[in-house]
């Protein structure tokens, strides 16, 4: 059998932080001031935040560095949900929910952020890239760099209403055509939870009374 098999038992050397810092340095030299912020957990992961204009450029720069495996692309809505979990007792006092935006790692200024992840298969390292979505609700597409971004951008468009400039085909991927709203936005209510209060922790329900011997047909 001439089918080749590679792979050895030795675990590949774990990327140290020198590697991740090198990635950041090179990216900074490629992007200049468009690289807004970075966040690094040693031996674990790397986050970078770029400006929305440089979103496409970042993909090209990282691809040139060897990040040629496209992992995913999606978006984050940092607005705290105005509905809570929606299952509370309707008679209880509504809890005041703060509407302050608190972004996660690498910070940010806007409510929506797009984020994506690329992997470098040779160096065994991945990077999460984030970008603030400007008022126009639109960022450049990644399609010229990664063909796989197609469906991810369609999904993000459908779920968050974020547009992608240059994407030829932003149709709905999941939901039927007449669906209204963007489900993954935090202000999209789950109506079933709104109308049906959660019963709380119930004990085992009593068995139904065994009084149905009457209908002996079938």
């Amino acid at each position: 059998m001439s089918d080749t098999a590679t792979g050895t038992d030795e675990t590949a050397a774990l990327p140290g932080d020198g590697l991740r810092e090198g990635i950041v340095d090179r990216l900074r030299s490629d992007l200049g001031e468009h690289l807004l912020d970075t966040y690094l957990i040693p031996h674990t992961d790397l986050w970078v935040r770029v400006s929305a204009e440089a979103w496409g450029q970042t993909a090209a720069a990282l691809k040139a560095q060897g990040f040629d495996h496209f992992c995913f692309l999606s978006a984050l809505d940092w607005l705290p949900s105005p509905f809570g979990k929606g299952e509370d007792d309707p008679d209880a006092e509504p809890v005041a929910i703060s509407t302050e935006l608190v972004q996660g790692y690498t910070g940010g200024e806007t409510r929506f952020q797009v984020f994506a992840r690329l992997t470098d298969i040779k160096r065994h390292v991945g990077v999460t890239i984030k970008a603030d979505v400007p008022e126009s609700m639109s960022v450049p597409t990644w399609l010229p760099h990664f063909a796989g971004a197609n469906w991810h951008e369609r999904e993000t468009h459908e779920m968050f209403g974020i547009g992608f400039e240059g994407h030829p085909d932003l149709r709905n991927l999941y939901l039927p055509g007449e669906f209204e709203g963007f489900p993954l936005r935090k202000d999209f209510p789950l109506l079933s939870r709104m109308v049906k209060p959660w019963p709380g922790i119930v004990d085992v329900e009593p068995m139904p009374v065994a009084a149905q011997e009457g209908d002996g047909e079938s």
Binding site: T4, A5, G7, D68, P80, A147, Y174
Partner: protein, 390 residues
């Protein structure tokens, strides 16, 4: 066996695309064939709209979303332990494997780690669910190509694995056995001895399938040289798992990534195949099933003693932060990007499922093939609808 070299692959693909173009230029009257949403071949509810010229596909487009259940939204209104019950059902053939990356992500945020015994049992169950998943794929391959008997063998031998999973976790299909910080329970008595026997049976099953199906000339002629995906295209589409390794990319998260699982304690081989055609994808999966049985055999003898649960608070609140953890699931890389704000439930969970990326390549790869090849290519790409649509 012949192995296509890269030039042959590229010329084959170019010829396919040229054929498809030529037919458009000659302007024969085409026909649009709608396959699905329910069709015997799409094991699930994928719909494919194909524009045909005779029996040749000019273009094809998959329509997903018939199984979209809104996991990402539902996770936002559930607590961390509740989420695991839900995400079991994403890839419903290898349910246990779905829980692991999410639990690992939560553990990473809480900065705890499961005790070694729990890690071993997790890894064993993970591999068992891989076997349960891929063995059905091996049987199903025959059905897609018209041979009805292999699937019965697959179901027969898969039952043994399901029995093991049920014996250990109590759930035949959706175990919901993982807890943040360890496992719900320890292994039952006699489980280890039975597992060894079942692994032997499964290896026999793999041999049978290799003999009866992979050795069949018709099967080979249907899959060899069909649906070739070169390595750079596969990477650009973000394909993972056996589909990526079948294109010659040596990338397996079990080996190449460090997390709180014990794959590094087992000696296994990561198979790759240079062809990138349907045959390669099927063959890789066959080998992976064998490797999985070997991993289980090796790990099961070395399970350390000790507790299966670390100390975690009764009410789990995960500290604020973001974590990305992915593992090599039966279908490919499955990862969870968990954003927590210190509440009982996650703030946002991005589920990166393998089939979504794997199947997004179909418009590219189906161009220029024949109608029967649609079925074999889809079968060899091996998707599960819950994993595409989530």
């Amino acid at each position: 066996m012949t192995v296509l070299n890269e030039r042959q692959q590229l010329s084959y693909i170019a010829a396919q695309a040229a054929d498809a173009r030529l037919n458009v230029e000659l302007e024969t009257e085409g026909m649009t064939l709608n396959i699905g949403p329910q069709h015997p071949a799409t094991h699930g509810t994928l719909r494919i709209i194909a524009r045909l010229d005779g029996e040749q596909v000019v273009w094809a487009e998959p329509v997903a979303g018939y199984m979209h259940r809104g996991y990402e939204k539902l996770t936002e209104v559930r607590t961390f332990p509740q989420v695991t019950a839900l995400i079991n059902r994403i890839d419903w053939l290898g349910s246990f494997a779905n829980e692991v990356p999410f639990i690992l992500a939560a553990e990473q945020l809480m900065e705890i780690e499961a005790p070694p015994r729990a890690q071993y049992i997790r890894t064993i169950l993970f591999e068992l669910s891989r076997i349960a998943n891929v063995s059905l794929f091996l049987g199903d391959l025959g059905v897609q190509m018209g041979a009805i008997t292999p699937v019965f063998m697959a179901f027969r031998d898969r039952e043994y694995v399901l029995n093991l999973i049920e014996g250990a976790t109590g759930g035949r299909f959706h175990p919901n056995f993982d807890r943040i910080g360890g496992l719900k329970d320890d292994l039952p008595k006699g489980w280890i001895a039975e597992t060894k026997q079942v692994m032997k049976k499964l290896r026999t099953f793999c041999d049978e399938i290799e003999d009866l199906l992979f050795g069949n000339e018709i099967f080979q002629s249907r899959t060899r040289g069909v649906g070739i995906i070169p390595a750079d295209v596969a990477k650009s589409y973000g394909m993972t798992g056996a589909n990526l390794r079948a294109s010659g990319v040596d990338w397996d998260l079990r080996r190449d990534q460090k997390n709180a699982m014990v794959w590094d304690q087992a000696d296994f081989k990561v198979w790759t195949h240079p062809d990138g055609d349907s045959w390669a994808r099927c063959w890789i999966r066959l080998q992976e099933t064998r490797e999985a049985t070997k991993i289980v055999d090796q790990l099961i003898d070395n399970i350390p003693a000790g507790p299966v649960m670390t100390k975690v608070p009764r009410i789990i609140k995960v500290p604020a932060g973001e974590a990305w953890v992915s593992t090599e699931n039966p279908l490919g890389e499955m990862g969870y990007y968990v954003v927590s704000k210190g509440d009982l439930g996650p703030f946002r969970v991005k589920i990166r499922s393998a089939s979504f990326n794997n199947i997004s390549i179909t418009p590219w790869v189906l161009k220029g093939v024949y109608v029967p090849d649609i079925i074999t290519i889809l079968a060899s790409l091996y998707f599960i609808l819950g994993d595409i649509d989530r």
